[in-house]
Point group: C2
Chain length 356, copies 2
Amino acid sequence: MNKAPFVRAAANPLITPEQVRPWLPGFQVTCVFNAGVCRCGEETLLLLRVAEKPPAAPAGFLHVPILEEDRVAVRALRLDDPRWDFSDPRKVFDRETGSYAFLTSMSHLRLARSRDGIRFTVEDQPFLLPDQPLEAFGTEDARITRIRDTFLINYTAVSPFGITTALAETADFRSVRKRGVIFVTENRDVCIFPEKIAGKYRALIRPVPRQIGQARIWLAASEDLLHWGEFAPLALPDLPWSRGRSGGGAPPLCTDRGWLILYHGASPVDNRYSMGAALLDIADPSRVLAVSREPVLAPEAPYETEGFYPNVVFSCGALAEGDAIRMYYGGADRVIALATARLDDLWDIMEPAAAF
Amino acid sequence: MNKAPFVRAAANPLITPEQVRPWLPGFQVTCVFNAGVCRCGEETLLLLRVAEKPPAAPAGFLHVPILEEDRVAVRALRLDDPRWDFSDPRKVFDRETGSYAFLTSMSHLRLARSRDGIRFTVEDQPFLLPDQPLEAFGTEDARITRIRDTFLINYTAVSPFGITTALAETADFRSVRKRGVIFVTENRDVCIFPEKIAGKYRALIRPVPRQIGQARIWLAASEDLLHWGEFAPLALPDLPWSRGRSGGGAPPLCTDRGWLILYHGASPVDNRYSMGAALLDIADPSRVLAVSREPVLAPEAPYETEGFYPNVVFSCGALAEGDAIRMYYGGADRVIALATARLDDLWDIMEPAAAF
């Protein structure tokens, strides 16, 4: 009853960087992870985050990519320049401004298609590219929400201005239309509910405070998907595995017991990212009905404990198929994997919110 | 031509903490500052931020206030508890969570009324009190924007959940209706434009990024004042006096040359807060037309250089009266002061945006 309800697919990892062709000439795909997920016709689609790093720099330098006007430029930073702190493999800290000044890779969003949800064909060309100033460091971590015939894609737009959430939409995954920033810096891990509730669109958002407060999930509401308000913290308990930070994972799934949310949490000191589950009232998602005390999936497999950023399972999308939940997730910020749970097993391990 | 165009009122400081009666029994008013401003009938109204500190604690302790349910409680923190860092006089840092855990005072909003704009009578009772979980550390820094017969009041709502901006409205400054959080953590220094532009309400906002980017002014748009979007950074130059952080000050003033904005900036190392001026296109406020290279007011007078937080001039509201701009401001986070400029003098010192 207390074992983690998600079971890993035997074929894991499903997609690795070696299978993905780089978009930028001379660059190398280092990570393919954190994919938005949907069903479209007979296919399962993944909208992958593909991270590419620039060609190796001369000795004593690090190359970092940045979008300038309409092309990706590469800058060489001196490794012995006291201005830069290179201790985080994902980004370069600027001691002069007290802010991260560069990412070490450039991410874009790429489609992968499958008939069986296991064997995916990754497209050779990007689907959604960074191409504007608020995306100068890349586009990351898509979530897909289908509302009638439109697939909404929200993604993280990163630039020297900060980390924002932007919206795009497509009807067919051939063309895509960008709709601009919907949550201003610093906000990521946004999950839009797949239908209106009490006449309004709703979303889980994850604002990151600087001075006071913690990175936690809030609720927001909108009438047009472009302008958001009615902000309120979601009353999830802080648990040992989620106390460092938590945020939305897969867009909420409608079940006969309420909205099932699969969200991520990181432990405070060792930054170990796990997935948890909660159940929200179907008519009023600010009411938390039940919560998993332990993670429903925690990093244990080698492709989760070793990689670009070790000890991470991080989902951006899941599908409900009958009694089963198929959760796709990034492993160690490097590969795509899949785990499956039966709904009954999830209900079994969740405890009423009043128990926390 | 290059001297600061704002001239201090001879009667400065206009309001000091000694003139203000505490709201909470046993508390002491330590600061009265950062007032929203409007004309209402024959009167000039200031909506003051009044900060009160709890009764002195026993030796070895500090008292900190927090709203619990419907009353303000006082907690005693041990000064030798290694968990707390007391180095900032305004707040207590929690080394366990990496966040500020308490403020040292509780702020609310209080009205002051004047016939001449100089001699103010401060009301004995609060006008807008912290009374909900997202305001548990207080309500701060009001800005007032009149739109037709409604006075919009946006203010900073501070709580353990973070620093947010909330909206309230009044028709008469007797009753007030709270409308909830309109910008989620971390966001303050919001200035709503006094009329719709191209069919939408507009505001200057000041998101504070945690990882990437700086605290700078962005623009936002709304159709109903409650749901906001269309976020974009405002292209103000970084200047030596504003490079540390900048944010909105007075709500924009409509002039025959465009929107005059009086905004604050802080220098990077010594955190000296000054006021600057910029001119935005009347039909498209994302177009910056002109900017003051030097501050239009910088802390120099004793009530600006000495106080609760030294070296601060910080305005939350100004009035245009004929050819004059009357800017009310907080001095050293302790008192209310007034400085006046002629519009022509402001135009003289502003340089075209292309010069930066």
